[in-house]
Symmetry: C2
Subunit: 462 residues, 2 copies
């Protein structure tokens, strides 16, 4: 058996010569890289963790691993929740967090290029004097490389799109160590296959993203927020649906059910009622924002919504959105000592009410505590199961609810994950969602990574 591990040891030793103490096999660091955030997945540490500083170093690491047939796991800051960064086959974790330079900002073209380890907050901090911002906001302060790899989105995708729409180009190290650049800085192109979009969402299974070129947006002249509570979840969802159908360009439209709202208010020490609630944000000109809010207010009233509560100051707006962003911590606080298993689906908006209500009914019947929060404007919602660690029976109940929710979403023409990715958690639903298309994905994976070294065990069962 000792001889079997030799290639791995040789690879680690070669990478060590290249990176010095930026390659580590310490148990503490390996354990830190054994899983993303929370979830129900068994942490599986890599054999070593590398911290490259350049695309060329990544290429060298990948070449060495390819030569010795050693698996690799690209890693941002580990905020993914579907086991996307576990190392079931060990190997070398390529931690991109030290590749965190903003390469360039082209203010007049509204784009920028960043190294993969730059986080979204870091980028927006960097941009703060330019009048520009990068809007996509999955809550966690994820790296932009990781966000591209999982096709992340979040609260304001309803207006600005997801990483699919906002990545213009990539620098990628392929599984054989070759460096390629995809896409470009033109706003559109019909020149050949869209490798950028193929790689966005491929979760590190086709290569390591080392640089990302992103669209930026001008900070709106006016931003305002509002909240509205509803006596029924249905009324809230119908408000969302009609707002979208009316083409009102809301920037954010977040739905919190009564359980989640109660948790958030308690955790964030805010005093809004623990009812089904929608948080809105409007971006535009002063007049445009006013107009949008008025139109949405009228729709909400039709569905039994309370009067809009306006957050007139930036501070108040930030407090409200901070409460939204802290849902995960609010959930933990709801059942101290619990772990949170976060899952999501996305459906056509006309089916959102039905999907949500049926799911909520099943959660209630199951006896589980599982708040719901939704990027409702996209038809996307999250369920956070609060589980007792080690309680297998409880986990089995949660899995049943999750299975049924996914079956329901797929039957409605939806997807098994709106923004978390497949990782290992949803690999079993790929065939149900995509049918024979999965064979084409496998074909591409085998062509680009014949040794199956790039984040093996994720996205596809080969």
């Amino acid at each position: 058996m000792a001889t079997q591990s030799l290639p791995r040891e040789n690879a680690i030793s070669e990478i060590s010569q290249l990176l010095g103490d930026r390659l580590t096999t310490s148990n503490a660091v390996r354990d830190q890289h054994a899983n993303g955030e929370c979830g129900i997945y068994t942490p599986q540490p890599p054999d070593a963790v590398a911290f490259p500083h350049s695309t060329e170093e990544v290429a060298a690491i990948v070449s060495i691993c390819a030569t010795h047939s050693v698996p690799m796991v690209p890693y941002g800051v580990g905020t993914s929740v579907e086991g996307n960064v576990t190392a079931p086959y060990g190997g070398v974790c390529i931690d991109m967090s030290e590749m965190n330079e903003v390469v360039c900002v082209n203010e007049s073209d509204l784009d920028c290029t960043v190294q993969a380890g730059v986080t979204r907050k870091q980028l927006n901090q960097y941009l703060k004097d330019t009048g520009l911002f990068f809007p996509i906001d999955p809550g966690a302060d994820a790296t932009l490389g990781g966000m591209a790899a999982t096709r992340a989105s979040g609260t304001n995708a309803v207006r600005y799109g997801t990483l699919r729409e906002n990545v213009l180009g990539l620098t990628v190290v392929l599984p054989d160590g070759k460096i390629i650049k995809t896409g470009g800085r033109a706003r559109k192109s019909s020149a050949g296959y869209d490798l950028t979009r193929l790689l966005v969402g491929s979760e590190g299974t086709l290569g390591v993203i080392t640089e990302v070129t992103l669209r930026l947006y001008g900070i709106p002249e006016a931003i305002s927020a509002a909240m509205c509570s509803f006596p029924t979840l249905e009324g809230a969802v119908n408000t969302v649906m009609l707002t979208i159908q009316s083409g009102i360009p809301v920037a954010r439209m977040e739905l919190l059910d009564d359980v989640q709202m109660a948790a958030c208010m308690r955790y964030s020490k805010l005093d809004y009622a623990p009812d089904h609630t929608i948080l809105f944000e409007f971006h535009g000109t002063e007049r445009g924002v006013e107009e949008q809010a008025q139109m949405v207010g009228e729709i909400a009233a039709d569905f039994g919504g309370s009067d809009f509560r306006w957050t007139k100051t930036t501070e108040e707006r930030n407090a409200l959105w901070q409460a939204r962003h802290d849902v995960l911590y609010a959930c933990f606080a709801l059942r101290p000592g619990s772990m949170v298993w976060a899952t999501d689906v996305c459906v056509p908006i006309s089916r959102l009410a039905e999907c949500l209500l049926e799911t909520k009914r099943e959660i209630d019947e199951s006896g589980l505590l599982a708040p719901i929060v939704g990027h409702a404007g996209d038809g996307n919602f999250h369920v956070g199961f609060l589980l007792e660690p080690g309680n297998e029976e409880e986990l089995a109940r949660a899995k049943r609810v999750n299975d049924n929710m996914i079956d329901r979403a797929l039957a409605m023409g939806g997807t098994c994950t709106g923004e978390h990715g497949i990782g290992i958690g949803k690999i079993g639903y790929m065939e149900a969602e995509h049918g024979d298309s999965v064979d084409v994905m496998r074909m591409i994976k085998r062509a680009m990574d014949p040794q199956n070294l790039m984040n093996p065990g994720k996205v596809l069962n080969l």
Copy 2:
């Protein structure tokens, strides 16, 4: 030699048994399918043309061709301009124009599914009582399958995006005859590789698109148009650039240089001045449209633009846009008996003025007649060389101007084609634009179409 053609004859005979008189080998029909619109490419007829009525029939045709190793060329209505539908290796042209049913419209989800042969005008006609429309408008009344295959865009991509952003899912017959469905009806998904985006823009080289699921939009409450002329091309381009940078959500922003404007006015018998001109269209609420126009008017004035001329009536607006859409015919009229070779590039908007001016200077120096028209808000412009058929020397001059324009666009971080696709016309620029990425495209092509039967000779030199 006779034996070599046997497989082809066998394939045609088998398809004929399947389709009856919907498979033809008549010279007239073959010649009709030997090229797209205009251009400088030698028409190359297929051996036969098939007119399937269902995805299953397409799958049967493809299976037969695959079995006999016969090339296939998917065909919409032949409006492409880069030789995208010629048949350099003969084979079977799969004409999708009789698959022209709107499969379903989901008004509440703002989406629809159409067979590939439905044209954009047909779809909008179908939608006319729903309050919805499909905005993407490349000028020609192309099929939606063809538009997806070439990643088409056009005049209002600046607001609504291209086919890349507006295709939610596809039904595709793979090169071995297998039918797959990609994507879905959810607005976003992070479930696996984005095969939809890989196939959009693949120009029929990876499979035959038989159905397309598209995003739809509510017809805006208010639409208004304006035009503004400029003493210099630079002033016009700078107006476009600042409008984009200011985040004003114009729906259309078309640039016509003085030559093109003169041609259009003469052809369409309108009386606007033959100066460098921008045509604007604004979509939104009554107030929003007013506000946008006012902001753009102020920007234009700063760059020497004339007073906005408002087109207050639908009739007047339509006349203006019809003139824009008739540029190709206006060009023909400018030099009777000429052929038009249409080419396009797209650059980051900050480089548009430089790229345009330098190109115009070269056109002038070359002594050629070549009007310029631009989807300027995207950084995309077209040059239409008016050439004497058969004049090799003139063609060589045009090719030099085109080569230099593409080199210039690529050096600026742009692309060799914003919306026409690669076809055979731009295949030689793929390496210059994409570098080693082209190897990845080849890898995918070989994995998915190992016999190289799907639209061979296009997009990639294998």
